[in-house]
Point group: C2
Chain length 487, copies 2
Amino acid sequence: MPAVPHDLPDETLDPRDWEELRSLGRHMVDDMIEYLRTVRDRPVWQPIPDEVAARFRQPLPTAPAGLQRAYEDFRRYVLPYPTGNIHPRFWGWVMGNGTPSGMLADMLAAGVNLNQGGGAQSGVLVESQVIDWCKSMIGYPGEASGILVSGGSMANLVGLAVARNSRAGYDVRTEGISSSAPAMKLYASVEVHSSVQKAVELLGLGQKSLHLIPVDAAYAIDMSALRKAISEDRAAGLHPLCVIGCAGTVNTAALDPLDELADLCVKERIWFHVDGAFGALAALSPELRPLVKGMERADSVAFDMHKWMYLPYEVGCTLVRDSEAHRRAFTLTPEYLEHTTRGIAGGDIWFSDYGVQLSRGFRALKVWMAIKEHGIEKFGRLIRQNVEQARYLEGLVRVQPDLELVAPVPLNIVCFRYVAKKRSNEELNAVNKELLLRLHESGVAAPSYTMLGDRYALRVCITNHRSKKEDFDILVREVLRIGKEIG
Amino acid sequence: MPAVPHDLPDETLDPRDWEELRSLGRHMVDDMIEYLRTVRDRPVWQPIPDEVAARFRQPLPTAPAGLQRAYEDFRRYVLPYPTGNIHPRFWGWVMGNGTPSGMLADMLAAGVNLNQGGGAQSGVLVESQVIDWCKSMIGYPGEASGILVSGGSMANLVGLAVARNSRAGYDVRTEGISSSAPAMKLYASVEVHSSVQKAVELLGLGQKSLHLIPVDAAYAIDMSALRKAISEDRAAGLHPLCVIGCAGTVNTAALDPLDELADLCVKERIWFHVDGAFGALAALSPELRPLVKGMERADSVAFDMHKWMYLPYEVGCTLVRDSEAHRRAFTLTPEYLEHTTRGIAGGDIWFSDYGVQLSRGFRALKVWMAIKEHGIEKFGRLIRQNVEQARYLEGLVRVQPDLELVAPVPLNIVCFRYVAKKRSNEELNAVNKELLLRLHESGVAAPSYTMLGDRYALRVCITNHRSKKEDFDILVREVLRIGKEIG
């Protein structure tokens, strides 16, 4: 490498003019807060024009354009065309809105930019406290361990990895999955979220190890079918490893009987994991808490704060009852990371011992600040408000002869369809499919959809702190209008 | 559940007074920019006083304290005690600093809060463009696929998952790891990063499937030992699956001969994965690019932008040459996520088909804006500047009789120790261990350490856009001062 002349100045990514940056930063705050304040006035969603999309095909920039120009590109080409989940009438899939103060907290986190792998630094204390609070929130034992992760997929993966590594009956970390030992089996209802399948596959257990159990009319797991599956698998020499209970299924927010699952898992000595991606947080409402009773008895629980705690992406959590099993599933502690008692690498808690990541960002901060800002009771009230809204929408659907409820409404998800005129199910599916697309394109409201049996249903999942009752009136009105339009 | 009285107002997490929030947001920007501007004036690190730590043991807050108060807690108890990696004299482990504009970009990302799982929205175009740019940056083929992930650990996991799923020779996703097929073997040098072991374990392959190969005097993989291992494994009926090449090892930034590894993998029909967590980005400097030649031939490459691209946590990237193999390793596309051509769920690219996460945050934005702001050439110059600084420090160490270089300096990591007075190696290790702790406690500089053979070395890893040459003078002066003090 040729030598660099000694008179070259040291370069940096810090600004030459801090005052200019400060002024632009204030501008961004102003713009974004105005953007959030006025979200209700804009369409939920709009397609990206071709000329905008073309902008994103420009090659790698070599020369600097400056932050002002980069921000201008963001404002013109990115900001107008988001997913739409920040809007009061977005109820698609399971998405939260984010919050204005969560946005600011993410800025603070990126500024201090500490590494949450561990060490003697304040971020570790923040995350530890958040995990303690999470345990309180869902009534989980204080001695449990936990870790914040990117979301429900990782949260399930972490929980199931601990299950596999601690209950395989042999040293999976060293040996790998062995076919000489009895094959491990996991159980969940057919309504279980796809991330569980993804985790099972990633862990090398194979999709076929995931035994999917039928559901009852409420879309909850059929307990007798589960018992039968476990005993048949045992009889066949297989190893029942883990039952995954759903605290709120993705399709209809159905709740598996968690207390019965806990009893069964104790009796059968099976790991009990609860996927509570959004539903776990129903525990924050005293009125709803009984619906998820039994969750606190699980060996591991996965849930998200970017769904029904409304915080910005990404933040989920895994809690594990047996903290030693949790640590043993992940710790490596190579010599260059040996924990010391003094200096930066001091401190007792190394989150990298409890999950997949080594370097980790400060996602804990927005949770910590939000709980301080609002107090946890407010989140309980908001969650209950969303459940009330689901019941309100259910009522609107029930009284409308042109609409049909397609599934029970146990929590915050309403599945319904447009059924005016006598039509075959196939025709109804086609009509409702077109109806949903036009609804998106109208910008008025954004449910998603699901298939329930052979029925295509509009699916309204309410994890939205901006929705008001009137928004559901608007939804129903618009669905009826578009339905008529389709004819 | 008792009915909610109809006169209750709709609650929300939006502020009652937007003007007040805007004013507080501006304040936060001011404070954080001042915090970054003055970082050089503060200690790199300081321990957390007990009375501050005690604050983090308060129970779950039920009532609201307001954002102002939550922010005050952040300012008083969090901000003064970070890891220290934003400081110009932090060179521990492998950490970037973050940037002031990256901080602002993370705020924008959290505000628009779009879901990068996929769909017809601008974030997908941003991330697709960033991935295209990443391919250009490291000279990777344009038809490759890629995904942004939380960091190096996930980036390696994704690459190795594709290797396993596409090259096992049977359907691992369905069947799981099978002992009836020949056992898969992975190869890497003994210097490989621990995240590779973690990934191999998570994937159910077992640590014993990871064949660790000795290194030469430059800490690069011993090619003849690797060839021998592969042929012996084949002869034993095992299945050589994947070679992991290091573009910059974590201990000494050693560079495996990537071109030779690529040749070998082609010949042996083995998947070639490059862990380029930080080193891959040496390709951004025309002068350094020859050091990582061969990386562009890999089947998959993992690297981080929160290390040697200096951006705030969390952002890493996996690129995969065979985009179909990449997609087949992860896609699930259940019916409630069926891709459509219109509406929000339209669009061709679903990142959730290419990795572990389903909901995903907008980490792409800070990369996109940073490259536009600075142009990619600047990053190349900064990387080269860090390498020059490593050579400068190497020079300082070489001329100091009381210091000893412990490893070669191929890139940006300098391992050295204090060796004044004739002492046994054991004594030297104890002295240098104490020296490092006092160095951290002094707040002057923060290297980390590693063991090289039986020698404890101070390890200075320079992935820092704030370091100046004079900072290395200060480091050496302080090491000598503390060394003398220890005696």
